[in-house]
Amino acid sequence: MDITGIPFFLAVSFGGAFLAYLLHFAHRFLRNAVALLTVSVSAALLFWLGDETFSIEMGGFILTLGKTPYSLFFAGIVALLAVPTVLFSFTYMAKEERPAMYYLNLLITIAAMYGILFSLDLLSLFIFWEIMTWSSFLLTIHKGGNATKAGVKYFLYSAAGAYAILFSIVILFNMSGSLLIEDVARSFVLQNPLMQLMLAGTLLFGFSVKAGLMPMHGWAPDAYAESPAPFTALFSGALSKMGIFGMGMVLYQIFLQSPFSLPVRELLAWAGGITSALATLRAIQQTDAKRLLAYSSVAQLGYIVIGLALGTPLSMMAALFIALLHGVFKAMLFFAVGAVYFRTGLTDLNELRGLIRRMPVSFLTVLMAIISLANIPPLGGFVGKWLLYESLIQSDHYFLVIVAFFSSTASFLYVYRLIFSIFLGQEEKEFEHVKEVPFLTMQLPMLALAAVTFITGIFPGIVLAPISSALTYLGFPIYHDMWSMSMLFNEWGNRINLLAMISVIGTVFLTGFTILSLYRMRRTRYVTTKDIHTSGEVPTENENLTYAINFYQPFERAVYPVLSKSIRAWIDWIGRSVSEFGDFLRHIYTGDGQTYAWYVVLFLTFMLAAGSWLL
């Protein structure tokens, strides 16, 4: 087998999964080594992947595999997150049950994501899509209990999306007689516009379920909150990007020529904007760290969808950049929260506090990640968000700018809540014995990803170059001097310009802040409880004096009227109605077997009567 070929690549990815599963029964260390080796080797193989396409005939269908610059960029995201995820799992999962199944499913999920990306035809894409859904479902329910419920929810949403995709694939195949995306795109243009609209609608629906776009986001908070932390990083960071990948493919490879393309994209951009705004508000309300991050994920994916749907070169660039960066910093956050959970067993923001001295590296990771998330220079998040704003303004979407800016600013609130509740405040006595997580398996992935946010912030060109080639593949006019489109960046983004200036300022600021805080920390005077008097009472030892409960109560009170009318209520209403209807229907199940015979006979009579009347 050709070592640079995609079949070899996929064989390594899938084979490694099964090998790791089998080796689990030999020795734990062997399993870990193979798992890490699999993801690292497949990540390395990405660089040497050849350009040839491969066809396999299966049951009368031809499955075609091949790489495109567009898919290669997403494969890069997957590879970038897969290695830290597997590394982080080693210690984290040591405590959990059924580790063999965990690694099998994790590696299969990763391999299936590569499979989706390297499918050149719709059928193999669907097959890998389903493999990914199944394995990620199994990972979601890994913990059992509540996780099962969340997993079933995830699976139901995914199944709805998958059926929508399958439905359109069948029709597209019927139309074009070929499953290749190129051929499909060619014959798609010839169809009647309404048909095009319907097909694009079902496809976009199917893919946006995975991306957690509102109103299809219902599964996301539960599934993210309940799945094991290392996997959640991959889940939110890379797996949801498969939805973005699919949507981009549909919008710009298949649907672009349709007369309905523009309105649909406009609508999608609005859906993204609404998603980001509402999910941000939701995130502020959360008291569970993982749920907070889950809503934050939904919000960030909303931004990506805005950029993706606008369809200007700059906005696409922004979307793909945020797609990468969101993966990185959300993985960092989930890792850090996972690390806290690993040491304390808690994710509840009301119970955690004052861990900064106990877990400084996790604190640093969270700090870096939220700086990136809140789009403060010099870290990577800033670049993407700036590009997005600029593209929005350039394409005269002022209202969307306001929405995006609002949710971006509001995201400060939840990230502050996250870092404050977990790390700041008075240290609790019960956390006295909490130690920082082990360096190699848990700190290293977090720090490596933190470095990535830093590097991409200073040298965005590293990421923008593959994005440019991906966009060129999708047919966007990327000129050599397209950076002049942006006020901020010039060509390739790494010349001396405003960015560098900002970077320098940011670095200086950060350094100064660090030095200052270190200095301050040394000078910190530890206040004994005797020093503080509340209503003349001397508080006893161990009394908690900082509260992170009801953190944003006034704010929540203000936004509650908006949120109470959210789409969630509608979905709940539909669920309730269905269950009530089912409750009503069960009256026909009398339990007396003879009644069923009566039903059959009555139906038969009815059919005969109707038949004779009709004929």
Partner: protein, 113 residues
């Protein structure tokens, strides 16, 4: 023609037992009556006046002088399936009796939910 009528009557008698009888064994009896009626109906449809059995048992027989073999083959298998179904149904009846100590279908309501 009388064959048709009689077989339909037998089927209806069986159906009546299924609908109205409260004893489980009686219901199974009704099912087997429906079976019998159907078998007779099918074979009667394949009958041809003046035809012989579709077996070339002696020389000189031609295809024109034979009854239709297809319904017979169908009924042959249907009878065997019928006994299997009856056996399974009666096994269930035995099981239900062990569980509920009654064969009255009105008193067996564990399917109610």
């Amino acid at each position: 023609m009388i064959y048709y009528i009689v077989s339909i009557i037998v089927m209806l008698i069986g159906l009546y037992a299924v609908l109205m009888k409260k004893n489980l064994i009686k219901i199974v009896v009704g099912l087997s009556l429906i079976d019998s009626g159907t078998h007779l109906l099918l074979v009667a449809i394949g009958f041809i006046k003046g035809g012989t059995a579709p077996i070339y048992s002696e020389p000189g027989l031609t295809a024109d002088a034979m009854v239709d073999p297809v319904p017979q083959a169908l009924v042959l298998t249907a009878i065997v399936i019928g006994v299997a179904v009856t056996a399974v149904a009666l096994a269930m009846v035995i099981r239900i009796y062990a569980q509920h100590k009654t064969l009255d279908i009105r008193k067996i309501r564990s399917l109610k939910w």
